[in-house]
């Protein structure tokens, strides 16, 4: 008899399986995830299939319009060799969008990871150790009071040349942009994590863990961090979205990567001067940025619902 009741009980399910089940019910989030996977594959595997050097100049073949212009443009210059057209120096736009997307996404992910790491570290330290709390939170408030975009611009301009000299033109700017975005966007994560850690600290399981003499290090890694994973993941998605936008904004203001090194924001910035004649050159990279950020925001929305145990399972 006991065996029968035991068998009737459902098999214990992994928490993350429940989260995924809830996540799938959010249509926007699933669409966002699909788009993010698609755009990631497009920029990583795309260059394998579309084997064109994004920097290769071909002046004879410049200003080719995208392929759909042939449908209603009649006499527009189109070519199957360049489905999205070429720019004013004859560089293939599709190859540039792929190369630019790789940089934009790489910057976004790295900067987000850095920001989330800093935010979690400061949040946990401030929430767990009472002595550090006042100091760290005053510091967070101070950083929040800084005008971040102007300071980021100042950092870009002033530290560009020495970093370029040390790490090479591309790596130097990459390090500069990632560090710049990372150290100017950890504050929200820190505040959320601190609040959650402070609430968790008062719970019985933490008391139980402390009563058997768990050291602070293991307390944080074993008991506190797994319980603040959900707010961290939600703020990570928001961080990814803002990091991509910030990098593009810097490139758009002409303070990002060097001009022969494409990113989505840089392609947009370079095309603005000729947008009267060739609007598609502005629209492709702009659409890529906007759709990626929209997808990430929807994923964040879905994750927030899926990770909230009060909503999950309803």
């Amino acid at each position: 008899m006991t065996d029968a009741t035991l068998n009737a009980v459902e098999k214990p399910r992994n928490q993350w399986w429940d989260v995924w089940a809830q996540f799938r019910t959010h249509k926007g989030a699933v669409a966002g995830l699909c788009f993010l996977i698609f755009i990631t594959l497009f920029v990583t595997l795309g260059p394998v299939l579309w084997d064109v050097d994004p920097g290769k100049l071909n002046i004879r073949n410049k200003n080719v319009r995208p392929i759909y212009m042939g449908l209603f443009g009649g006499d527009a210059k189109v070519a199957w060799a360049n489905p999205m057209g070429t720019d004013n120096l004859g560089r293939d736009i599709m190859a540039n969008i792929m190369a630019g997307g790789r940089v934009s996404l790489a910057v976004g992910w790295t900067a987000m990871i850095l920001a989330v790491f800093l935010g979690t570290l400061i949040g946990v330290l401030a929430g767990y150790f009472k002595r550090l709390d006042g100091l760290l939170m005053r510091f967070t408030d101070l950083v929040l009071a800084l005008p971040l975009l102007p300071l980021l611009l100042v950092m870009m301009l002033l530290f560009r040349d020495p970093l370029r000299a040390t790490f090479g033109p591309e790596n130097g700017i990459f390090i500069l942009i990632v560090t710049g975005i990372g150290i100017t966007s950890w504050m929200q994560t820190a505040r959320i994590v601190r609040g959650d850690v402070m609430a968790l600290k008062e719970r019985e399981f933490v008391l139980a863990a402390r009563s058997i003499g768990t050291p602070a290090r293991r307390m944080i890694t074993r008991h506190l961090l797994p319980n603040v994973m959900s707010p961290i993941m939600v703020s990570a998605t928001l961080g990814l979205a803002t990091a991509i936008i910030t990098e593009s904004a810097l490139s758009f203001l002409g303070l990002g990567f060097p001009s022969d090194f494409p990113t989505w924001g840089k392609i947009l910035f370079d095309s603005v001067d000729r947008m009267t004649a060739f609007p598609e050159r502005v629209i492709w990279p702009g659409l890529a940025i906007s759709l990626t950020v929209l997808a990430v925001n929807y994923i964040g929305d879905g994750l927030r619902d899926a990770l909230d145990p009060r909503i999950r399972g309803q």
């Binding site: 009071a145 800084l146 975009l149 100042v154 950092m155 040349d161 702009g286 929209l294």
Partner: protein
């Protein structure tokens, strides 16, 4: 409340001093040289004299207090002198731009009206659009209108201004030729036609900035309305036989506005920062463009002053938001 306000004002003084110090040291430690743009043919000793003339000869612990003195004492003195015809300043040294060799505050005063017009107008428009959207979305939760509002605000969060602005230019200036793509700041409004022209050139920059504001404020308005609509006092008001419009627009709206007002106050500095990009797109010669030009020309006093003014704005708006919250919501006790 008064004591709280005074305490906060006193706390904001060291905060601002610290921020000024951070900005100053960032500019100081940075390897960028204001003389880097000068021709290489200038002999070193002349270059050294030029550095001294720019005030770069002294170490930072002399220049930083000097800048503070100029910003907080000398400049207000000049301002009072101009306003009342007095002579407090007595010819004291003002903050001088490296590029134009004229006082930084005079240039800022020239650029301020354009920025204030575009940014201020867009903020007002954005908030005015956002409030009704938030109210209706909350009142008819999960309706088609609510879904559409959620989608539009998602787009507002996701589409960066440098793309939405460029997209508007492509559609309305290039294809349809309805609106001018460049904001003409020399334009003077004197009659009806010039007023219409002013309106037309303001539409696009204002809409780009307003989209961001609307996205944010309408979400907060919706969430705050939803919190209040389920409260007991709403049921009481309905039970007393009040009409729906009185219940929603008087009882619920007033209580829901409390957090939204603070969000609106806190958003003002952010929109000034965002204006840097919008001004670049529509070629508005406002403060944002001034900052970019100053950055590119290594004009340290100008960059320092504009950035610090933005910091002052942030700190002041934080203070105003907190005080407003206390005034509007009698349940909040700060003391």
């Amino acid at each position: 409340m008064l004591i709280y306000t005074i305490r906060r004002l006193l706390i904001s003084i060291p905060t601002l001093l610290f921020i000024a110090f951070v900005i100053f040291m960032l500019l100081e430690l940075a390897p960028g040289d204001p003389m880097a743009q000068m021709p290489l043919t200038i002999p070193p000793e002349v270059k050294e004299k030029m550095r001294l003339a720019l005030g770069l000869g002294e170490p930072w612990w002399v220049r930083f207090p000097l800048w503070l003195k100029q910003f907080f004492i000398v400049e207000p003195q000049y301002w009072i002198d101009n306003a009342f015809g007095t002579n407090f300043a007595d010819g004291a040294q003002r903050i001088i731009s490296f590029q134009s060799r004229s006082p930084v505050f005079e240039i800022i005063a020239e650029r301020m009206p354009q920025t204030l017009w575009v940014v201020g107008m867009s903020y007002v428009v954005g908030v005015l659009i956002a409030l009704p959207i938030g109210i209706i979305s909350a009142y008819r939760q999960y309706s088609v209108f609510d879904q559409a509002g959620t989608f539009v605000s998602m787009i507002g969060f996701s589409v960066p201004p440098f793309f939405s602005g460029v997209l508007l230019i492509v559609i309305f200036s290039v294809q349809l030729k309805w609106l001018p793509s460049i904001y003409d700041t020399t334009h003077v409004v004197s009659d009806w036609d010039s007023f219409v022209f002013q309106l037309r050139q303001m539409v696009m920059p204002v809409m780009v900035l307003a989209l961001q504001t609307t996205a944010q404020v309408s979400r907060y308005m919706r969430a705050s309305m939803l919190d209040n609509l389920t409260q007991d006092y709403v049921r009481t008001a309905r039970a007393k036989g009040m009409t729906e419009s009185v219940v929603v627009l008087k009882h619920v709206l007033r209580n829901s506005m409390i957090p939204v007002v603070t969000v609106i106050a806190l958003g003002i500095p952010a929109i000034f920062g965002g204006a840097i990009i919008t001004e670049q797109i529509f070629k508005v010669n406002g403060l944002g463009q001034l900052l970019i030009i100053a950055l590119q020309g290594n004009d340290i006093p100008m960059v320092m002053t504009i950035t610090f003014l933005l910091a002052v704005l942030i700190v002041m708006m934080n203070l105003i938001a907190d005080v407003l919250y206390g005034i509007l919501d009698p349940r909040i006790r700060y003391d």
